[in-house]
């Protein structure tokens, strides 16, 4: 097992509710040259004149780190295109304009919800000096001390503390939220009313995603379980196997249950029927675009280019993707006789989802193992969901994001090797360690997080869909599922008014 040093200076504890302790000493300056010069003049160095040179370098480092965050945001936003192509390719031709439009619109809908209230609720108390977010924009809204459930500050990105660093951070976080928001559009495809979906997008950005994000990344109670429950470094999730993917996956599960299966999916005796997607190349292109964007998702989660662990993270991400795809290829061939392209694509995504939480804390061999396990897990999960649970998931979102997301959360507690993550969540750990280092308490924190996702978070989103459905029916609008006639005709015309592939050109 080889060890990379995470940073050149020793880590420090940070008493403020923040995602990580800052890993290098950074003067309290804003990322702006005039103010930086003024601030360095005000700070009285205890040593001699050579302190002004490191200060300028440190300022540049902060600026570079903010650039890294914004680049990461751009890469993750591009993943919206990946999701759109994967889902549309896996669905039928007559619904293509509708499916791709849900993926398109969810970016803006989630953004709007997050812009007005979601971001403050999740990250009002967050700060991280490495890219220039020195002070949180707000503080606790619900709860206090180690038991914070929601934050406040920065409503509609206005008020005090709205700096470029904060806005760059918002952009990165909105991209993660939109990833969660777009996951259920896959499992609910081909029978979801447009108007009902629109409400989901706003709800996800405003309330649903911020809940678990506040409890973990925002510095809330799950992050503090290292202190309140002596669980390792608290709940650890580097880039969001849990916070983003499993949270999206349980929403996909709740939505698929609430809508029910597509017409013709299950025979009278319950045997599943194949409803093949209409464009395999589109689905695979989408998978590659997701792989591309995932480097922003994972590697830029160091929030610092000055923290070269980003290279380890990038490699681990690629390794899990490669091993996941090939394992899935071999496993589906073993199970059904041929290397089904859809399952290969799901295998790559499963590996990526599963490595997303542990990517900074594990060695490359472990990243490969995680990819291999995910490649088998996703296929068996798809079979289980379809054949045993009789739930219709046109793209496998529940299995890729929900099941493999939970696996990724647990994988931190198993494969983390202690080489990185000192003072995570403000704790006293020297690094995040799992079972392979003989440490079981981290797994405890991970299991707690997984249980919370599968119970509380699932409960919230399931209630949302059921209540929305009941209100829609009470208003005479027929519920959140499209009518049988519309579904049979294809949602493109009845819902969107255009055909993805018009008849005669």
């Amino acid at each position: 097992m080889f060890r990379l040093s995470a940073a050149r200076s020793r880590p420090e504890l940070d008493a403020r509710p923040s995602r990580w302790a800052p890993r290098r000493l950074v003067p309290k300056v804003l990322a702006g040259s005039a103010l930086a010069v003024l601030a360095t003049a005000v700070i009285a160095p205890s040593a001699g004149a050579q302190d002004t040179a490191p200060d300028a370098t440190a300022v540049l480092g902060t600026q570079v780190n903010l650039l890294w965050v914004v680049l990461g945001a751009v890469l993750v936003i591009f993943m919206q295109a990946g999701f759109a192509l994967v889902e549309t390719g896996f669905c039928r031709r007559k619904h293509a304009a509708h499916v791709v439009s849900t993926n398109f619109a969810v970016f803006g809908l989630g953004f709007i919800g997050f812009f007005f209230v979601g971001f403050p609720l999740a990250f009002g108390g967050f700060s991280y000096a490495a890219f220039g977010l020195d002070k949180p924009v707000g503080d606790a809204l619900l709860g206090s001390g180690n038991w914070i459930f929601l934050f406040k500050g920065g409503w509609a990105l206005s008020g005090g503390g709205i700096t470029p660093a904060l806005l760059g951070f918002f952009l990165y976080m909105v991209a993660f939220m939109d990833t969660t928001a777009t996951i259920p559009t896959g499992s609910m495809a081909e029978r979801w009313k447009w108007g009902s979906f629109v409400i989901w997008g706003l709800f996800c950005g405003a309330i649903y995603y911020p809940l678990f994000a506040a409890w973990t990344w925002g510095g809330g109670w799950l992050a503090k379980t290292w202190d309140t429950m002596s669980l390792g470094a608290g709940y650890v999730d580097f880039a969001g196997s849990g916070v983003v993917h499993a949270v999206g996956g349980v929403a996909a599960l709740a939505g698929a249950i609430a809508l029910g299966p597509r017409i013709g999916k299950f025979g009278k005796d319950g045997t599943p029927k194949a409803l093949p997607g209409h464009h395999i190349p589109m689905a695979m292109l989408g998978t590659f675009i997701l792989l591309f964007g995932w480097f922003g998702f994972n590697a830029a989660s160091t929030f610092a280019a000055t923290d070269v662990q980003f290279a380890t993270v990038a490699l681990n991400t690629a390794a899990a993707a490669a091993f996941g795809a090939i394992t899935a290829m071999l496993w589906i061939t073993k199970r059904t006789g041929k290397p089904d392209p859809g399952m290969m694509a799901n295998g790559m995504l499963a590996g990526l989802v599963a490595i997303t939480a542990p990517c900074a804390f594990v060695a490359p061999w472990a990243a490969a193992v995680i990819g291999i396990i995910a490649g088998v897990l996703v296929i068996e999960s798809v079979f289980f969901v379809e054949r045993k649970l009789k739930i219709d998931d046109p793209v496998g979102a529940i299995s890729v994001h929900g099941v493999c997301g939970i696996f990724g959360v647990l994988a931190v507690g198993i494969f983390a090797n202690g080489s990185y993550g000192a003072a995570w969540n403000g704790s006293t750990v020297k690094g995040v360690e799992g079972i392979i280092k003989g440490n079981w308490s981290q797994l405890g924190a991970q299991v707690l997080g997984a249980v919370v996702i599968c119970t509380v978070i699932f409960g919230v989103v399931f209630a949302f869909f059921k209540i929305q459905d009941a209100i829609s029916k009470a208003m005479g609008k027929g519920g959140i599922r499209s009518s049988e006639a519309d579904e049979i005709e294809g949602l493109d015309i009845p819902e969107m008014g255009v055909l993805a592939y018009p008849d005669f050109p």
Partner: protein, 112 residues
């Protein structure tokens, strides 16, 4: 020999196929077509401009049968394809003067 042609709703073709197999019919040719009858089309808007969609997607089935089976096959298709809603389709019969199986060269009833 007769050629039975049926125009049915696309989502009905699995039911029709299963019914024909159960009735012992050996082969069918299917094609995706578009058409209209009384069902008619409707007006939609594309980027602000209205346009008519007249042609509705259907599936056309062609089946070669012996004289004696024509009535039975028509009934089988009709019962499997009917929904009661407008646009269910039509079935018609045309006489066929000669049929040949390419692989063996058989003709007539042996070729069906």
């Amino acid at each position: 020999m007769q050629l039975i042609t049926a125009i049915v709703k696309p989502f009905k073709i699995d039911d029709v196929k299963d019914a024909l197999k159960a009735a012992g019919i050996g082969g069918v040719t299917a094609a995706e077509v578009r058409g209209f009858g009384r069902q008619g089309g409707h007006t939609e808007t594309y980027r602000g401009t209205e346009y008519e969609i007249d042609f509705v997607p259907k599936v056309r089935l062609d089946i070669l049968v012996d004289e004696g089976l024509v009535d039975q096959v028509i009934t089988t298709i009709k019962d499997a394809a009917v929904t009661g809603k407008i646009g269910d389709g039509k079935i018609w019969v045309t006489p066929v003067s000669r049929v040949l199986r390419i692989r063996t060269g058989e003709e007539g009833a042996d070729a069906i």
